[in-house]
């Protein structure tokens, strides 16, 4: 479904992504791992158009996404969450999700009908599926950090994506929150038939959840394979698992 071919991105002299490649098949749960600064977030930003690659291609359902603006890529069916909680702090939890539902339904430009009657059911359904329904009328900025990260995922779900990209969905969470979040992600993938691409620091989480793992190091793809094969790979052990990060 998603294919990235030898993509490059540098900032000045610093090469952040140096010919990384990645394949995500329909319905898969794919993880990207790598030490800090390996270029994981940059790679995600290249996929969803926040950054434009210097070279290489992003193909989604065999369509070239490389030149499209962010909002257009989203409309093609790729939604994402961000590494830091990137929500609408001043709006209620409900409104946060409603913004993306309205966008998905092409109603963001409706001028005169009151917003509080539109897309209510869909929004509530999403909030229910992530367990935030009781917080619907709270101001998003007042949620706990863990809940803000969940809200982040809920916003992305509002776009009814085919492919959901999660940038370190459990960063900054307690072990309990992490377990709950990963369980939620698995459930979402199963019930909604979502394809999910995520990156993560916690190795246990990755090896327990992902069906395919891509290892990045210095902006390069070392390998992409099934978890057991990645574990066995000597290059990976040298670069990452065997190093101080293990």
């Amino acid at each position: 479904m998603l294919r990235i071919e030898k993509i490059h991105k540098s900032f000045g002299n610093f090469v952040a992504v140096n010919g990384a490649s990645l394949t995500v098949g329909k319905g898969e749960l794919v993880a990207v791992i790598g030490p800090n600064g390996a270029g994981k977030t940059t790679l995600f930003n290249l996929i969803t158009g926040q950054l434009k690659p210097d070279r290489g291609k992003v193909l989604f359902n065999d369509e070239d996404m490389t030149k499209l603006p962010t909002y257009h890529i989203c409309r093609k069916g790729i939604a994402r969450s961000f590494q830091i909680a990137n929500i609408f702090h001043r709006l209620t939890v409900f409104r946060n999700v409603q913004v993306s539902v309205l966008s998905e339904q092409g109603k963001s430009n409706k001028l005169f009908s009151p917003a509080h009657n539109i897309a209510v059911e869909e929004t509530n359904r999403i909030l229910e599926s992530v367990g935030l329904l009781e917080n619907a009328e709270n101001i998003a900025g007042s949620l706990s950090y863990g809940d803000q990260r969940i809200l982040e995922i809920a916003i992305a779900l509002g776009n009814e994506p085919e492919l959901l990209i999660l940038d370190e969905p459990t960063a900054g969470m307690s072990p309990e929150e992490t377990a709950a979040t990963m369980a939620l992600i698995k459930t979402l993938a199963e019930t909604r038939g979502l394809t999910i691409l995520f990156c993560e620091h916690d190795m246990d989480v990755v090896f327990n959840t992902a069906q395919s793992i891509m290892v990045m190091h210095y902006g390069r793809t070392i390998v992409q394979a099934k978890p057991e094969e990645v574990k066995a790979n000597s290059q990976v052990q040298e670069a990452y698992l065997g190093g101080e990060n293990a």
Partner: protein
């Protein structure tokens, strides 16, 4: 909010409107004039707040569009024999078109750069009005615009402008509560996230500017109805700054705040201006106090103190 609550929150506005409707026969003509002047300024400030408070855009030269509306109306009434309604329509439409043109360039930039480009382009429009003597009368402006009979007395102008102001406010309120308005506020809070949920942020902001400048054009037309003249000061950057301050003063995250800001500013100019030409000094001191003690503006302060937040378009904070 339940239906009943929502209805209740409109009651104070209804009361104010009724009081305003009965005022002209009982107050001196001078006060009728001042109130009318406040109405026009309030509409101008409200139109600016659509993009400043609710859209988070640095619309630094909003007066330019007010002037375009006023000049268009005045020129059609003095230089052409077109029917009067053409003028009423053309003023706001011309302002909105100027807004589209200037906004088209501005939305490509962000924050301060947006504001700086807008000051330059707006000043360009001012320069045209200031220099093009044969058309605009240059720094003299155009005086004695023949306004139609139904607004020729100060009382009829008062009612006409009050009614148009009310209509415009209702329309603005509807727009800000619509999905469009909600999305505009989401963009203010987090443009990057909006882009990532599939919203064409630039186009959305541009539409916001067109709407805001349209209402600025309506205010411009109403200014001519009241004053029967136009002059380049209408589109000078000093006025832009003044209405920006009105939004801050009244409370730019509230719906009706700018009206209050406009009322305060116009009253100060009128009543303190009698004693000293340095009335802006008082305005400046007030602004300093405001920044320190009422960062959400007067209206923001009132709504916070008295619990209910009827005019907050969306609960913010």
């Amino acid at each position: 909010m339940t239906m009943k609550n929502r209805f209740k929150s409109f009651v104070p506005y209804g009361v104010i409107l009724v009081v305003l409707l009965f005022l002209p026969p009982v107050i001196p003509r001078f006060y009728t004039y001042i109130l009318t002047s406040i109405f026009v300024t309030a509409l101008l400030a409200m139109s600016l707040n659509v993009v400043v408070g609710h859209g988070g855009l640095f619309q630094f030269h909003h007066a330019a569009f007010y002037g375009v509306g006023a000049y268009t109306f005045a020129l059609i009434l003095t230089k052409t024999s077109l029917p009067i309604w053409v003028g009423f329509v053309a003023g706001p439409v011309a302002a909105a078109m100027a807004g589209l043109l200037v906004g088209w360039f501005c939305v490509r930039l962000t924050r301060l750069y947006f504001g700086m480009l807008q000051i330059s382009l707006g000043s360009l429009i001012w320069a045209i009005a200031f220099r093009w003597y044969s058309l605009t009368g240059g720094d003299d402006g155009i005086h004695g615009v023949p306004v139609p009979d139904f607004v020729s007395s100060s009382t009829s102008a008062y009612y006409f402008i009050l009614i148009l102001l009310t209509i415009c406010l209702v329309v603005m309120y509807l727009i800000l509560r619509s999905p469009f308005g909600m999305t505009l506020q989401a963009i203010r809070d987090n443009p990057e996230r909006c882009e990532a949920v599939g919203i064409n942020v630039r186009r959305h902001q541009l539409l916001g500017i067109v709407i805001a400048t349209f209402f600025a054009g309506v205010a411009g037309v109403l200014f001519v109805v009241l004053e029967r003249s136009v002059f380049p000061d209408l589109l000078f950057w000093v006025l832009s700054l003044e209405i920006f301050i009105m939004c801050l003063l009244g409370g730019w995250f509230t719906f009706a705040g700018p009206i209050l800001g406009a009322a305060i500013t116009v009253s100060l100019r009128t009543f303190v201006g009698i004693y000293t030409e340095y009335w802006t000094l008082i305005l400046g001191v007030m602004l300093i106090l405001l920044i320190f003690f009422l960062p959400e503006g007067v209206m923001g302060f009132i709504t916070e103190k008295f619990g209910a937040r009827p005019e907050r378009v969306y609960q913010e904070r």
